[in-house]
């Protein structure tokens, strides 16, 4: 029971990180039909920006250092994503091959630049004492970072749902995911919604970047890329354009990965996720949410 609780909550923590990356990816694809391979770069740049900012306030308490790291990561993630949309993506709407090439290129260039600037070795993130401790749940000592990441993901999920269901911009995004041309035909400047969705996606990816550093204790240049692969799987399993679908898929993928990596041979968990993707594509091509795209 103890092991199961530990694996379950750790899996939920991993799923929470996947969700934070996948939610933005899903909305960006759903609204703009842009496969954004640079999303991992937002994650990485934001994590390093947060880590650097944390170092700049090194004399402050660990709690403040961590909060500064989170705030800077979110802002930098959003700003980097906005800049990417305005400068690189906007001239390439409806040119899908061009979008793939430019986002892949940006991702590769960004990772190389980060490696060049900061080195390949992982950087330890300063964490408050509470985060290095554990909390006992049904007999299992759960690292507090797992609980923290889950709490952040729940908060982001709630904010996104509020944004999508209760604001006019959210209404525009939901409508745009269904039929972008008709949104324009109602007199709405869908371009602004594109930029906003990119910014929100970048902020969530930036938060994921610094929370992944909190979850694993370190940040490194390659983590964004490796997590992006699973985030793409989550987006497809959840249904392109569906935040709720991404949330459910992220939980399934994270928990499945943890359990099978623990009980099976090395790598079985990762393989099972790819297998799950194949099964979902065969049985329900629109993903959990049933979206037709």
């Amino acid at each position: 029971m103890t092991t199961i609780a530990l694996l379950l909550i750790t899996g939920l923590g991993l799923g929470a990180l996947y969700f934070l990356i996948a939610a933005g990816l899903s909305l960006i694809w759903g609204l703009m039909r842009v496969l954004n391979f640079a999303h991992g770069a937002f994650f990485t740049v934001a994590a390093y920006a947060g880590w650097s900012a944390s170092g700049l306030v090194g004399g402050a308490s660990p709690e403040l250092q961590w909060l500064v790291a989170v705030a800077v990561a979110v802002v930098v993630g959003g700003a980097f994503a906005t800049l990417t949309e305005v400068v690189l993506i906007r001239p390439l709407y409806a040119r899908h091959v061009g979008q793939v090439l430019v986002t892949v290129g940006l991702a590769l260039a960004t990772i190389s630049l980060v490696q060049g600037g900061f080195g390949s070795d992982p950087k330890r993130l300063a964490l408050p004492a509470w985060m290095t401790g554990t909390t006992t749940i049904v007999g299992a000592n759960i690292p507090n970072t797992r609980l923290l990441v889950i709490a952040f993901a729940l908060a982001v999920f709630a904010l996104l749902i509020f944004f999508l269901r209760r604001t006019r911009f959210g209404l525009i995004v939901r409508a745009g995911v269904e039929n972008r041309a008709m949104v324009q035909a109602l007199g709405i400047d869908v371009q602004r919604a594109f930029t906003l969705v990119f910014a929100i996606g970048g902020m969530a990816a930036g938060l994921a970047g610094i929370l992944a550093g909190t979850y694993y204790g370190t940040i490194d240049p390659g983590r964004g890329t490796s997590m992006l692969i699973f985030a793409f799987i989550v987006v497809i399993i959840g249904g392109l354009g569906s935040v709720t679908g991404s949330a459910v898929a992220a939980i399934v993928v994270g928990v499945l990965q943890q359990f099978l990596n623990f009980y099976g041979a090395a790598g079985v968990g990762d393989f099972s996720v790819v297998l799950l993707l194949a099964i979902v594509l065969l049985v329900r091509p629109g993903g959990f949410s049933g979206a037709s795209t």
Partner: protein, 240 residues
Amino acid sequence: MSAPATLLAVRDLNVYLAESHILQGVSFDVRAGGITGLLGRNGVGKTTTLRGILGLVPRTGSVVLEGAETTKLAVHEIVRRGVAYVPEDRDVFAGLTVEENLRLAERAGAPLRYDLVYELFPELEQRAAQKAGTLSGGQQQMVALARALLNGDNRILLVDEPTKGLAPLVVRHVVEALRRAAEVATILLVEQNLSVAHSLVRDVIVLDQGRVSFIGDVDQLMGDAALARRHLGLAAAGSH
């Protein structure tokens, strides 16, 4: 009595889609007030003409609305100048409720005509919380028309085959709604049902293979069997 002023002037409109030259120099005027019919056989470019006016397809030529050129504007800017669009397939947002579909159409600064919309389509008020995707075809058409009618500053409604696929009872409802709508805005109507068209429209523009083949009065066209056969390909004379 002087003739109503021209609200919309289309000049030398050309649209290429893939390798096809769909519209080949289409030119016509739409007078302010009432309903102007855009008729023709299937596939002659009627829907493309509406989409070209709105900028939903790449086009060349000139589209002038109340004296102002609109072809250089983005789609949303053209719409904000008072052009509303009711597409052939209704294109309601299936995952949004009826109320959300209408709210999305609201334009800042425009007087909203919810009274008129709910007077014409009381069902929409009753089904405000229902997902538009679960409505019948007729109800979805009501949503599409309601979106176009909602903003009080809309000058012209581009309405594409509003009775297509609807039951006769619903067709009568839509016809009545269009008649009422024409009291508050000019309508450019694409309609395959010639008896519906004849009962509603005043001026007629007929397209044939991407070109304008006839411009004139609806009674002139429908009252002359030879003319109707030549331009519409069937014995439309006398249809009501």
